[in-house]
């Protein structure tokens, strides 16, 4: 069990993380971009048009990974919030700070592609069902995390307030989701039925899987890069950082 403790303490150290993470950023960027190019070319160029949705199905190769990733980022932020409130690890706080705006952008991408896909497929750009509403509210939650941090002047106070808000938010996401689900099952608009996926066919599944993996890797790279920027900002006066800058 010793290695768990060591890893825990090492990841908690901005210095260890900063000096070791540059190859990871580059690696994740290259690998993620490669996968996205492969998956998107495959999905846009080589997959047959879907029987009911026609060519608009291709938007889903961007939409589904983005929507999935948005939720994953929020869960990561909430875990970081818990870690920060309990153990006061600076890195957890910096992760929240770095990931929140990125999560916002990814959520907006998911919403925008969803609307573009919905207009030809559902016949309407917006439906008040569980997934659309909870994704929209997710965007507001990300926005709130950024806004709250900006509003509180003292950084240490802001960090703890944001961490608490992230935790409160993660309790609410399932409640919001289920409440909307129950609500819409009572008044299901018929237009949704057209878009309802029959179990997804393998031709669509493979490029989708490649793109999901690509999105995860690429955005992980972006988050780590943003995290490195936060470390530089906060440790600006530290000796190890000066030494590192001089050396490289």
């Amino acid at each position: 069990m010793g290695w768990i403790k060591t890893t825990f303490h090492k990841t908690g150290s901005p210095r260890w993380f900063f000096t070791g993470s540059r190859p990871w950023v580059i690696g994740l960027y290259v690998f993620g971009a490669l996968l996205i190019v492969i998956g998107s070319t495959w999905g846009l160029g080589f997959v047959p048009a879907e029987r009911l949705q026609g060519n608009s199905v291709r938007i889903l190769f961007i939409h589904a990974p983005a929507a999935h990733l948005a939720e994953a980022i929020y869960v990561a932020i909430a875990i970081a919030g818990f870690v920060f409130l309990v153990w006061r690890m600076k890195m957890a706080d910096m992760l929240i700070q770095a990931a929140a705006p990125i999560g916002f952008v990814v959520t907006v991408v998911a919403l925008a592609t969803g609307i573009i896909w919905g207009i030809p497929t559902w016949g309407t750009g917006w439906v008040w069902d569980a997934r659309t509403v909870s994704t929209l509210l997710l965007a507001f939650l990300f926005f709130g995390l950024v806004a709250l941090r900006q509003a509180i002047e003292r950084p240490d106070r802001a960090s703890r307030a944001v961490a608490l808000l992230a935790l409160v938010g993660v309790v609410n996401i399932p409640i919001i989701k289920y409440s909307v689900e129950w609500f819409t099952t009572l008044h299901q608009p018929p237009s949704i039925e057209i878009g309802k996926k029959p179990a997804i066919a393998a031709v669509f599944l493979w490029p989708l899987a490649v793109n999901v993996l690509g999105f995860y890797c690429f955005v992980a790279g972006v988050v780590i890069a943003a995290l490195r920027a936060r470390i530089v900002e906060r440790e600006a006066g530290a000796k190890w950082l000066r030494d590192w800058t001089v050396k490289s």
Binding site: G144, L148, L165, I175, V180
Partner: protein
């Protein structure tokens, strides 16, 4: 329990003595109702009333800790109130008694003004009585997080409105169903469950947020 009663009475007396502060959310609710009555038709009424009650709530709850923060009472509360839970609940109960409750009491008038009928009004009042305390409890978290910044306002609205959504869905859902003569038991139960969850969990989050804002 004694802590609850003391805190409840103190906040009630303070609010009653500065009347315009306490009346603001109520006046806003009436004013917005009139505007909507002039601007829209009648089918959406229960939902509209619920949304207005929600806005009135967020406007009111935004300042619930402000004066206590400014004159230092909040610090004293955090130092002496052990446990903090009943004091927070007492404070919010007093706040609700002068913001959510009057809105619920006045809502039949608004409903009759807007629809001209009395169908489903009992359910509307009931949903507001169950739902608005849940809103106050949730909103207090946002208010507590921002109390030390001196600029709550819109920020509190942005932080807490997403959390208000489930309450709105079941509250407005039940009221609309009642007006159309449909069964409402499920929504009422779900709304009560939300209130129970908020009442047991939110005061802890509020206490923690207050502690962060006052550095304890």
């Amino acid at each position: 329990m004694r802590l609850f009663i003391t805190q409840f009475r103190r906040d009630l007396v303070l609010a009653v003595r500065s009347r315009s502060d306490a009346a603001n959310p109520l006046v806003f609710f009436v004013l917005a109702t009139v505007l909507l009555g002039l601007g829209t038709g009648s089918e959406l009424v229960p939902g509209v009333i619920w949304v207005l009650a929600l806005f009135a709530n967020v406007l009111a709850v935004e300042g619930v800790f402000r004066r206590d923060h400014e004159d230092g009472t909040l610090e004293q509360l955090l130092i002496h109130a052990q446990p903090l839970f009943p004091a927070v609940v007492g404070k919010l109960a007093a706040h609700w008694a002068l913001s959510g409750l009057p809105v619920a009491v006045l809502s039949p008038v608004a409903a009759i003004m807007l629809t001209g009928t009395t169908t489903g009004i009992g359910v509307l009042v009931l949903t507001l009585c169950i739902g608005t305390p849940a809103l106050t409890l949730l909103g207090a978290i946002g208010s507590a997080l921002t109390v030390a910044t001196g600029r709550g306002g819109l920020l509190v609205a942005i932080l807490v409105l997403p959390f208000y959504v489930p309450v709105l869905i079941f509250g407005a859902g039940a009221s609309t169903a009642a007006m159309l003569g449909d069964p409402v038991a499920f929504q009422l139960l779900a709304l009560s469950a939300l209130l129970a969850a908020c009442l047991t969990a939110a005061p802890f989050a509020v206490g923690k947020a207050l502690a962060i804002s006052q550095e304890y």
